[in-house]
Structure formats: C-alpha cells, structure tokens
C-alpha cells in the first residue's frame, strides 16, 4: 500500500533543513522521520542501530560438488537458517532470562511494571522472574511500545519463554 519511491521536492528539502535546526537545539543526537516509504535519519556521529533487526543474510550458497557418476551424490544436509533474533510479525519478543515464576508487578497490589500500550526503553524493567526467592529483573532490551503481554502474573515460565512483544520505536 506504500507510495512509489519519489525524489525530494523543494518543500521536502526545506522541511529537512528545519528538522536539522530543531535537532540542533533539542539536545538529541538523532532524529528519525518516517513518511510512507521515505525514512530520514538526521544526526551526528554514526547512526544508531536499526530498530528492527535486519534479517540475517541468506546462508552462503555452497556450490554442490558434482560427484562422479559412479559415486552416489551425498544427500545435501539442509541447514535451516537461524531464526532472526527475537523478531516476528508481532514485534520484538522479550523472553524469560531464566526459568521461574513470572511477576508482572513489583509486589502484590501494586500496578504492573508495564501494560499494553506503554512505551519502554531498553533498560525499562518489565517484569521479575523468581527462582527460589531470587528475583531476576527482566529488562525490555528494546525501545518501543508494548503490544502484548503473553503470560499472566505468577505463571511458571520456562527458560526462553516469550513474555511480551514490543513494537519497536
């Protein structure tokens, strides 16, 4: 549904110039604007890591060795490419750093660390996982908006279980 790629109009250039000025005054290092297919990142130094992990490069294609006719060709071992790190259609996954009991809130009766729609930073604590009275805090590890909480408070979670999904900013 996106518009065809286009060049920058004079208006666009003016707008970008104004964005640069406002960024200068803001104290932020980078500014990213997305309009349809157009994505502009303005800033100083090297750009920040992309929000969405880029899919891994396709596995190197190894030319099959052509075996002499008399020798049966070895069965090619299909190696599934590793899944892209914690990204799927539903956003970036926050997974359990340990097996244990999932706590959505710092203590009973308190509001949860995060709820659907909340904006989180990489370092935002989104949950606790308890293993025999030892509490591990779970950091979001990504900037964005919580779109799904996949487990209920006090559920038992396995190592690597998906706890939440975040739509990266």
């Amino acid at each position: 549904m996106s518009e065809p790629t286009r060049g920058l109009t004079d208006d666009d250039v003016d707008q970008v110039a104004r964005l640069v000025e406002s960024l200068d005054r803001s104290g932020f290092d980078f500014l990213q604007v997305e309009l349809g297919d157009l994505r502009i990142t303005i800033g100083t130094g090297s750009p920040p890591a992309p929000d969405v992990a880029t899919p891994p490069p396709p596995p190197p294609v190894v030319a099959p060795v052509v075996a002499p006719a008399a020798v049966p060709a070895p069965v090619p071992q299909t190696v599934a490419p590793p899944p892209p790190p914690s990204v799927n259609a539903g956003g970036v996954e926050i997974t359990a750093p340990t097996m244990g009991i999932f706590y959505a809130r710092p203590e009973p009766g308190k509001p949860p660390f995060v709820a659907i729609g909340d904006v989180v930073e990489e370092t935002t604590t989104v949950a606790l996982v308890e293993v025999m009275k030892t509490f591990h805090s779970v950091a979001a590890g990504v900037r964005g908006t919580v779109v799904e909480v996949c487990v209920s408070d006090t559920d038992f979670v396995e190592f690597g279980a998906v706890l939440m999904r975040v739509d990266p900013a």
Partner: protein
C-alpha cells in the same frame, strides 16, 4: 505408590531409564531439560518437559534453585536426581525437604557424610569396614612425609571432596610429595571448591569390586551382590560385570557383610554402592568410598537379580518398607555392561559430538540397551560422551562374553566416532577371559588396539 509426579533432574540415558521406571509404577514424569535437550528422547517420553536453562550445566542441570522451582511449579511431589550432576548434593536434598518434595535418594546427612571422603573413611572404620592405611586431613609436607613413612610407598593423594576417580595423584617417590601436595590442593580447590587432601596407601595391582546395597527408612538393609568394575581408563569405568568373577567365597561374603554393616550403621536409605579396592597380591580388600545414588552400572545387578533398582529407589522414597529380605535376593547367571561413548579411540579418545546418522542397535534375548540415542540425534558438546550402555545376560560368564562381543559387532553407528570396536577388543582380551584384569589392564593393553581391525 504414594508418589504421583516425579521431576527428573537429569538427562541422557538415565533420564530415559527413570521415565520407564516411573511409568511402570504409574507415576507421572516431568523432565527438566536444558535448551540443548528440548527434543531429546527423554523429553519425548516424559509426560512433560520443562526447559530450565541454557545448555551449560551450571545454569541448568547443576542449578539447585532451578530444578526445585521446576518441580514445585509443575506440581511434582518428588525429585529424582539420577547420577552425576546434583545427585550427591546435600544442598539439593535439603532444598527438596524445605519445599515439600521427596528427594529420591538418601538423606542430606548421608550425602554430606559420604561426600566428604575423609568422613566416609571414618564412618567405615567405625563400622568395622577395613580401610587403607592412610591419614586424616594432610595440611603440610611434613605431615605428609610422616604419613608416607607410616603407610609406605607408593601412596595416593586424594581430594576429600573428590571421588568417582577424580582428584587423585599417585606418588612413588617421597621427594615428589611436597610438590604433589601443592598442585593437588590447587586442583582440588579449582575442581571441587575444597582443597582438603588425605593420603592412602596405593594398591598397585587392584581390582575394583563394589557392593550394591538397598535400605529403607525402617532400618532394613539388603545387599544385591557385587560388581567388578576393574576395566577402567583414567580411573573411569568402561566395562562392568556381575557377579565379580573368580572371587574367593570368603572374600565375597566379607565384602557383602561389610557393605551391609556400613549401611546399617548410618541408617542408610535408598540405593547405594560401597566401593572396595581388592589387592590382587595379598587378597585383602579395603573401603574406597560409598556412592549415595543410583550408579551408571546398575543394570548388571538388575540382570542377575531381577530387581529393578530405580523402582526400588522410588518405593523406598515413597516410604514403603523393602518388600523382600536378604534371603529373597537370588543371583542367577552373569551380566556384562559396556559403556559406549562418543570418543575416537584412534585419536586418544577425543570426544566426538555431532549428528548420529546411523543408529542400528543389536537385539535379541538378554541384550539390554540403555540409551537416549536415535537415528538423527545430535550429540551435544556440553555433556559427557556416554551414548549407550549395552548390557548382556547369559547363564555363564563365557557365554556372556561371547554375547557381548557378538552384540558389539552387530551395533551399527555412523556419524560420530564411538568406542564400540575398542569395547569388543577389551572384552576379547585374555586378561578379561581369565579374570586376571586389574585397574591398570586397559593402560597396559591399549597400545595393542588397532581400530582398523576392529571395524
């Protein structure tokens, strides 16, 4: 059976073994798995598998908090630790009690008392079980030299927190003693977190003979006979058999009685093994250590007695009294077990992880295979290299040897290197046939093994 659901805190063949035992008793199983074992045979056979951590054992199979949490969270009422990993951890046994779980094994106090090998020696002495001339804790070279004068050379320096053939150094020359003491203490501290050392006389020509015991919480103890595990490579058992061949009846009886005496004296509960070293030159036997868990080589005892040791562990843990007495334990025939590992004998037994492409085990009557392997199984790099235990039974020892060799030769494994050919070589050795093997036989004959011939 009052146990309803058991968490199995182990992996590999023993996890599969425990699942089968539970199944027969109508107990549900939950298998705690690391990320590397999610698709293992044990995980498939258990009623449920829970992933407790990453592949490396300290964050999974060795983490008391995680296995106990997994057991509680999945509604288990008991925990079976298998062998290795946390099986002899008093801390795990205590944590189970604190969380209302039945630990399938002895008490934390038994585990602690026998885990400390100096304490174990003391208990054996108190029970009238012969121990090797040796020492309590040795702290200084002067102390060690004084001990050496008393017990004579050669001697062996052992880590009190060691056991199972680990943390030992043989000393032939008293001049080496101070430096051996220093390195042994450092190694013990690194390996076991405890630098405590002790000294024992070293038996040059030794057989390893151990007695299986079983106790309940009402003070009943029986023995299930002995096993000979003399064929060892670097202090690790390779071939085991029951009964021990060519053992004078009075020695056999004395060992059985000593093992039962020790277990009774400490009120031992569950399956345990009292290990002895038997001096080939003098005929004397001495206490080595007591293993407070199910052992790798338990199948040979099961084959000659017909008693399922893992089920007995579960029954005793559930609070049942032993349902049989000593007179009911009948020993018939002979059993031999070969430990098949993923190691390459021709490359100094380099461990060989990888995918098993062909897995065609032998079959037939009286051929038992304890394994977690299947065609296509990926042997992980994170754990020990045991692939399978091939145990055979026959009316006589000679027939058992023939059956073992035949079964090994029919075993087709491709994809990883294995010790199958080496095991065939070993059980075919004249030292094994005439039962004159010692704990150094493998070292003596290993150079004569030609892998190509065995294939």
């Amino acid at each position: 059976m009052s146990l309803r659901r058991v968490l199995i805190a182990n992996r590999g063949e023993i996890a599969v073994r425990i699942v089968h035992a539970c199944r027969e008793l109508g107990i549900e199983t939950v298998l705690a798995v690391s990320e590397a074992d999610r698709d293992s045979l044990g995980a498939r056979l258990a009623d449920r598998a829970v992933c407790i951590g990453p592949p490396r054992a300290p964050q999974s199979y060795l983490d008391i908090a995680r296995v106990v949490t997994a057991a509680v969270a999945t509604g288990c009422d008991a925990l079976h630790p298998g062998y290795g990993f946390l099986s002899e951890s008093a801390g795990l046994a205590r944590a189970c009690v604190e969380h209302g779980l039945t630990f399938v094994g002895p008490t934390a106090e038994h585990l602690r008392a026998m885990g400390d090998k100096i304490s174990a020696r003391r208990l054996a002495r108190e029970a009238g079980v012969p121990t090797l001339p040796g020492s309590e804790q040795v702290r200084t070279p002067e102390e060690a030299l004084a001990v050496a004068r008393g017990v004579g050379l050669p001697l062996i320096v052992k880590a009190s927190a060691g056991g199972g053939g680990r943390g030992m150094k043989v000393v032939f020359d008293a001049a080496e003693l101070p430096s051996v003491l220093t390195t042994a203490a450092a190694e013990a501290a690194a390996a076991f977190g405890d630098p405590t050392l002790y000294i024992e006389r070293f038996v040059r020509n030794a057989r390893h003979v151990e007695v299986q015991v079983l106790g309940d919480r009402y003070g009943h103890v029986v023995h299930l006979g002995e096993r000979d595990c003399s064929l060892q490579r670097r202090n690790q058992k390779v071939v085991e058999e029951a009964p021990a061949p060519a053992l004078p009846a009075e020695v056999r009886d004395a060992q059985h009685a000593a093992a039962v005496r020790l277990a009774e004296r400490i009120g031992y509960e569950s399956a345990g093994t009292v290990e002895f070293v038997l001096d080939r030159d003098t005929g004397e036997f001495f206490f080595l250590e007591m293993n407070t868990r199910i052992q790798v080589e338990h199948p040979v005892t099961e084959l000659v007695t017909g008693i399922d040791l893992v089920q007995q562990q579960l029954r005793v843990a559930a609070g049942e009294p032993l349902s049989f007495g000593q007179a009911d334990v009948v020993h018939r025939g002979h059993a031999i077990e070969c430990r098949i590992t993923a190691e390459v004998p021709s490359e100094n037994f380099r461990p060989d992880a990888g995918r098993i492409t062909v897995w065609e085990p032998p079959g037939g009557p009286n051929v038992r295979l304890d394994t977690h392997c299947l065609p296509g199984y990926l042997v992980p790099v994170f754990y020990d290299s045991l692939l399978a235990k091939l145990a055979v039974y026959a009316p006589t020892r000679d027939e058992a040897i023939a059956r073992a060799r035949s079964a090994l030769r029919r075993f087709g494994i491709e994809g990883v290197g294995t010790t199958v050919g080496f095991l065939d070589f070993l059980v075919g050795r004249p030292e094994f046939a005439d039962a004159t093997m010692t704990t150094h036989t493998i070292a003596d004959v290993i150079d004569q093994f030609a892998p190509a011939d065995a294939a």
